[in-house]
């Protein structure tokens, strides 16, 4: 059941992402996907420590594990890409709307199904702090990445 739902949800998210107009190039999306996956995987080492190492969970069903890993490596990074793509819209109200929208989706998802997302149920304040820091980190990384690439392409153009 969990895997079926996650696969359907991921299918919707991936197709939603494919259909939306892109404000960033492919390379930047790949960079953001990798960085967001890595960030989530590293924070999960601490958060889902019991699931990872406690012998009680040695016999956990494979479908729960697959659902957890799919959320960790596909659902959240793809939702992040959608949120950051919307963030790049330009208008302030659109940015705010996309920001609030992504927050609500993330929070709802973690509150409705904590077992396959954060593994340990987390309070709303904890989730808000985590996602705020997470988005700030990714926005800072995105700005550094695009600035670095822009700088290099200007240098290459001027050297020609």
């Amino acid at each position: 059941m969990a895997v079926a739902l996650v696969i359907c949800f991921d299918w919707i998210i991936i197709n939603g992402f494919m259909m939306m107009p892109k404000r960033l190039n492919r390379e930047t999306f790949l960079f953001l996907f990798l960085l967001s996956s890595l960030t989530i995987m590293l924070t999960m080492i601490y958060r889902a420590e019991d699931l990872y190492f406690n012998p009680i969970y040695r016999k956990i069903s494979l479908q729960d594990v697959v659902a957890f890993h799919m959320n960790r490596n596909i659902t959240f990074p793809m939702l992040t890409l959608i949120a950051l793509n919307l963030w790049k819209n330009g208008q302030l109200w659109e940015k705010l709307l996309s920001c609030i929208g992504s927050f609500v989706v993330f929070l709802l998802f973690c509150r409705i199904d904590p077992f396959h997302t954060t593994f340990v149920p987390t309070g709303i304040v904890g989730l808000i702090v985590y996602f705020s820091l997470y988005f700030l980190f990714l926005l800072a990384a995105l700005s550094l990445f695009t600035r670095g690439d822009k700088k290099q392409s200007i240098q290459q153009r001027s050297s020609r």
């Binding site: 990798l34 699931l51 190492f53 016999k59 290099q152």
Partner: protein, 162 residues
């Protein structure tokens, strides 16, 4: 005493020496990619290592332990960073060779063998300790898949940008 220290810290020394060597080689080779591409390639390696280490060496699979403890410690995190340049080197040498229809097949096969030999060395240095019937040979299909996907990055992201 020094020998004893080396034996007890062989995994940490291996991570430091191999990682530093790989980064050194990366900086010594003439630069061929943009900064963005270099960062992405470093992230690809770290992503794969982190992905498999947080999937195969945890419940319910628990196929191996990394470094001294079954839990994640600083050295495990450092290994994600230190082995970063391998995607860079993999793509770098691929862009340096003459290519025909079969090049990618032999190139991936050779790198998969290199990866297996590296894993054998890492196992010898006590970085990996296999459990629950896992054998080094089982990593070969993982390397083949990972290297093929990584080469797709070169095909669909780097060549398209030219």
């Amino acid at each position: 005493m020094i020998l004893q220290y080396i034996q007890s810290s062989s995994n940490e020394l291996f991570i430091l020496i191999v990682g530093a060597g790989a980064y050194l080689l990366m900086f010594v080779l003439p630069q061929r990619f943009t900064k963005g591409q270099i960062v992405t390639m470093l992230l690809i390696s770290s992503y794969w290592i982190c992905f498999f280490d947080t999937t195969l060496c945890v419940n319910p699979f628990d196929y191996y332990d990394i470094n001294d403890t079954p839990y994640f410690d600083l050295w495990d995190l450092l290994s994600f960073v230190m082995f970063g340049p391998f995607t860079y080197l993999f793509i770098y040498f691929y862009t340096s060779i003459e290519k025909n229809r079969t090049t990618y097949f032999f190139y991936i096969s050779i790198w998969a063998l290199i990866a297996i030999v590296s894993e054998a060395l890492a196992w010898h240095a006590n970085i990996y300790r296999y459990k629950n019937g896992y054998q080094m040979f089982y990593s070969l299909p993982i390397y083949l898949i990972v290297l093929s996907i990584t080469l797709m990055y070169h095909r669909f992201f780097m060549r398209k940008n030219k």
